[in-house]
């Protein structure tokens, strides 16, 4: 029996007269790699922002692990197991790689607000962060500041931070965006190594990556779910082709 | 009843005169902050400079009043352009803290320079005879200069609004405020436009400082003392808007006057409380769209 990790029910969002999310029903099963694709302006970013709680939906529900989180803050959702990466690097640029990851780990371990003992005394936080860096081959960069890192590695740090939260659901927003092709192999390797029990939703334009990685695909067009299914079906669906190739209807 | 009516008329009249001056001084700040995202705490320096130019042209050089006002605008605009080229532009990309510190530094320097050049005394405004005395209107006497102030500021504001709302130059400015990158894409040299707009805004501050020298006394600590009023006008009104600061300036002018008239024991308490309340209610100001 599969278990639904993340679900939306009739999720809508309008800005004035403009509807950017229209009755989106979406299910992300536990342990599944699920890709969200769609042409530009399809509403992917809006959808993700509603999932994470940056944006309040106009109507509809967001359920995380079966519980309604529609009204919860970003922080509360993270505490319930929702992790994410950003399309554009959103790192603590002036801090070290280690601290970037440790900040997240500390929040998860509920020690982020401890004001008295030195941070370095929380060895379990640091060790966990170092372990994470090791999985991504970043251990030698631990003491470097993020801003001094090549872009590809920065993207890895982004993923490492999210993993440090030990999410049950991980939203990866274009993890390979902007990475020079030479370095992108690394990202793919890292994605392949992500723990199997995490439900992963990946928003990605790179179809190679999507078809290599995803077990299911949802196609979003103009704020609506156009199609949902396994990659093989999606690849053959004429409507998807149409959405991408722009064959004229009628 | 009559007394109440008469006091209402007094308050409205003086409040509007004060508000108009505040607006002419502050509107440039609203535009530069909105257009360039620059927290220019030193805006009052331009107003003070305008005031000094007016008082010295009238006093020391005995120039005619209109010429003095024109000079206040022109010299401040030119001076501000030099400052913009020389200093301000280094801070366009910088953080808020840097801009705040830089402009506070400018204020400190301006205060010291004003003290060295003009001394610490308040500068007298030698008004021409036709602006002195009272002006009878509807059976009441109004101070002639304040009537003049309202009329001239009103005309200035109308001209400014016409310029921004109805001319091609205004359309270009609005385009640059709306979307700087796109404005460049259609061939607008935004940097130059900013420099000119900055000069215009500062020039207006100079003009406001000159016209308002009778109401807001010209002396070296001017930029410090009135900073909060200028900032309040801008932040309550909303950045990058023309209408917002106008409403805010009139609101401040009238309510400040009313407080002094009726509740002198409360001082400026009401203004600050109202400012805080408005900013909490609408963080982007009454007519603003962004912070």
């Amino acid at each position: 029996m599969t278990h639904t990790a993340l679900e939306t029910r009739a999720l809508c969002k309008s800005f004035g007269a403009l509807t950017v999310a229209d009755q989106i029903d979406f299910r992300l099963e536990t342990g599944i790699r699920h890709a969200l694709i769609g042409p530009n302006g399809a509403g992917k970013t809006t959808f993700v922002n509603m999932l994470t709680g940056r944006l309040a939906p106009s109507s509809g529900q967001v359920l995380l692990g079966g519980g309604d989180v529609t009204r919860l803050s970003q922080e509360a959702r993270v505490k319930r197991g929702l992790g994410r990466t950003f399309q554009i690097n959103t790192l603590f640029r002036g801090m070290t790689v280690l601290d970037n990851v440790a900040l997240g780990v500390a929040e998860r371990q509920r020690v982020g607000g401890r004001p008295w003992r030195p941070a370095s005394a929380y060895a379990h936080v640091r060790d966990e962060a170092v372990d994470l860096l090791r999985t991504f081959g970043l251990e030698t960069d631990a003491r470097r500041r993020v801003v001094d890192l090549p872009y590809g590695k920065q993207r890895l740090v982004e993923i490492a931070i999210a993993l440090g939260l030990q999410p049950t659901v991980l939203l990866l927003d274009e993890p390979a965006a902007g990475v020079p092709s030479l370095e992108s192999g690394r990202i793919l390797d890292a994605l392949a190594q992500l723990p199997a029990h995490i439900a992963i939703m990946i928003i990605e334009h790179d179809m190679d990556l999507v078809f290599r990685f995803a077990q299911r695909i949802t196609v979003l067009v103009q704020g609506q779910v156009l199609r949902e299914g396994p990659p093989a079906e999606i690849a053959d669906d004429p409507r998807v082709h149409q959405a991408y190739l722009g064959e004229r209807r009628g | 009843m009559d007394a109440l009516l008469s006091s209402l008329v007094s308050i409205a009249f003086h409040g509007v005169a004060y508000g108009m001056v505040l607006y002419v001084i502050s509107v440039g700040l609203s535009v530069t902050m909105g257009l360039m995202g620059f927290v220019n705490l030193a805006h009052g320096v331009f107003a003070m400079a305008g005031g000094y130019i007016l008082t010295s042209s009238l006093g020391r050089f005995a120039l005619p009043f209109p010429v003095a006002v024109g000079l206040a605008f022109l010299l401040v605009a030119i001076g501000s352009m030099a400052l913009e080229r020389g200093l301000y532009r280094h801070f366009y990309g910088a953080g808020e803290l840097e801009q705040v510190l830089f402009t506070i530094g400018l204020i400190f320097m301006a205060v010291a320079i004003a003290q060295l050049v003009f001394g610490t005394l308040q500068q007298p405004v030698a008004l021409p005879p036709w602006l002195k005395g009272q002006f009878p209107l509807l059976g009441r006497d109004f101070p002639a200069y304040r009537v003049f102030l309202i009329v001239v500021s009103g005309a200035m504001i109308a001209a400014l609004w016409f310029g921004v709302e109805r001319t091609l130059w205004g359309a270009m400015v609005r385009a640059a405020v709306d979307n700087r990158a796109m404005a460049q894409s259609i061939g607008i040299n935004t940097r130059q436009l900013f420099a000119l707009t900055f000069a215009l805004g500062s020039g207006l501050a100079g003009l406001g400082g000159a016209l308002g020298a009778e109401i807001i006394a010209v002396q070296p600590t001017y930029p410090f003392e009135h900073l909060i009023y200028f900032l309040t006008v801008v932040s309550v009104g909303g950045l990058g808007s023309l209408r917002g600061p106008f409403v805010a300036a009139l609101f401040i002018g009238v309510s400040d006057t009313a407080c002094k008239y009726w509740l002198p024991q409360f001082g400026a308490f009401f203004i600050y409380a109202a400012t805080i309340a408005i900013l909490l209610w609408r963080p982007t100001g009454l007519f603003g769209t962004r912070v």
Binding site: - | Y145, T221, H226, P264
Partner: protein, 399 residues
């Protein structure tokens, strides 16, 4: 860790700056002069400074042989008692001065006074007029004035001229004193106060207040506003609103129409009636010489106001003590000399120190602003009181 090196340097600097010495010969008398050189009160402070410097220039060498005077000037940055107290303390402890003088602002002097009591430091106010300050320190003496000295006689005089008066004063201790003194005398004389407003000290625009006065239609408005831009501003408001044309007379202590600010006020000031102890237009020979010396030093167009005279006379008193004691300053002996001080030819006329209260004894003149030789002047039209002691202290003797 570079912080180390930096801190070392800082500490070194600290020490160097602090150690650079004060090698003072035994015969040098150190006088601390506190005034306001920055901030909103700087114009008045500048006047005080001019009086001080003028005295030093004209009389700085009138000392017994072998005695030298070293003056240490400090800036209290305005009506800023905390700073004033701090720098007075520093003058006493660090600079080891033997006199403190200057001090523009009453709150500042009030903050300094207790300190001088503790340190036994002769403290001569060149301006601060707060009426109760002498009670705070037995080492305090004053050569300036009190507002009661000006406003009480003015109230008595006004009661004979006006029936209804509106009072508008600045909302701080001197303003309250002026209001109280005038009101008391005016009411005793049978007048009616039709309204009273206290105006915040930091106030850019007086028009709303004066409009209120105008709407109340009194015979006169009595006002105390600190001399300087505030007084000029209220005068403007008075003229702009046409109170003069409405037949409302403007009266007050001399702070309203100080001789230096008067030219900036313009013709609205004509006819304003004030009571004060000094006018640059006074025709005493000592004053004429004083004004001439001032103009020679600072420019033909400038007039010395009461600040200048206050500072000048304060230094005169300090030098008098130094001369009497031959440069060997003992606080208690100094106070004895001060209590006996009399100067028949101050620019303001004869002055003396009241040995009881250590406050000034002087004449009060009623003046009217008139145009004299093309410039505005406070013309003394009447001597309201001669050898007047502070009326408040007569009413409130120290128990």
């Amino acid at each position: 860790m570079k912080v180390a090196r930096i801190l070392t340097v800082v500490v070194a600097l600290f020490s160097v700056v602090l150690f650079t010495g004060h090698s003072v010969s035994a015969q040098t008398v150190k006088v601390g002069f506190i005034s306001t050189y920055s901030g909103a009160g700087a114009p008045q402070g500048d006047q005080l400074d001019k009086g001080f410097k003028l005295f030093m220039k004209l009389n700085g060498d009138k000392l017994p042989p072998g005695v030298k005077v070293e003056t240490i000037v400090r800036d209290d940055t305005g009506p800023n008692p905390e700073t004033a107290k701090r720098i007075a303390q520093e003058l006493i402890v660090r600079d080891k001065v033997q006199f403190i003088t200057g001090v523009l602002w009453t709150p500042n002097a009030a903050a300094i006074a207790p300190l001088t009591a503790e340190a036994k430091m002769p403290f001569i106010s060149a301006n601060a007029a707060g009426v109760a300050i002498p009670y705070a320190s037995p080492y305090f003496a004053r050569v300036s004035f009190t507002l009661w000295q000006a406003c009480y006689p003015l109230g008595q005089w006004s009661a004979k001229k006006f029936k209804r008066v509106y009072t508008a004063v600045s909302d701080f201790a001197p303003g309250h004193e002026a209001e109280e003194a005038f009101t008391k005398a005016f009411k005793e004389g049978g007048g009616e106060i039709v309204g009273a407003v206290r105006i915040p000290l930091a106030n850019p625009d007086f028009v709303p207040y004066m409009q209120r006065v105008k709407d109340a239609k009194p015979d006169a408005v009595f006002s105390f506003i600190p001399a300087g831009k505030q007084a000029t501003a209220i005068m403007k408001a008075y003229g702009d609103l046409g109170l003069d044309k409405a037949g409302i007379k403007f009266i007050g202590p001399g702070d309203l129409t100080t001789d230096d600010e008067l030219q900036g006020m313009g013709d609205v000031a004509l006819g304003v009636i004030t009571a004060h102890h000094y006018s640059a237009a006074g025709d005493r020979p000592a004053n004429k010489a004083f004004v001439a010396a001032y103009k020679k030093e600072y420019g033909e167009k400038l007039f010395p106001g009461f600040f200048v005279v206050g500072a000048y006379d304060a230094m005169e008193l300090v030098f008098h003590v130094i001369r009497e004691l031959k440069g060997k300053i003992d606080p208690d002996r100094a106070m004895e000399v001060i209590k006996q001080y009399k100067n028949p030819s101050s620019p303001r006329g004869p002055i003396a120190i009241d040995p009881e209260t250590r406050d000034i004894v002087q004449n009060e003149y009623l003046r009217e602003v008139r145009r004299v030789g093309g410039v505005l002047a406070n013309v003394e039209i009447e001597t309201l009181a001669t050898a007047l002691k502070d009326p408040w202290k007569q009413l409130h003797p120290k128990k």
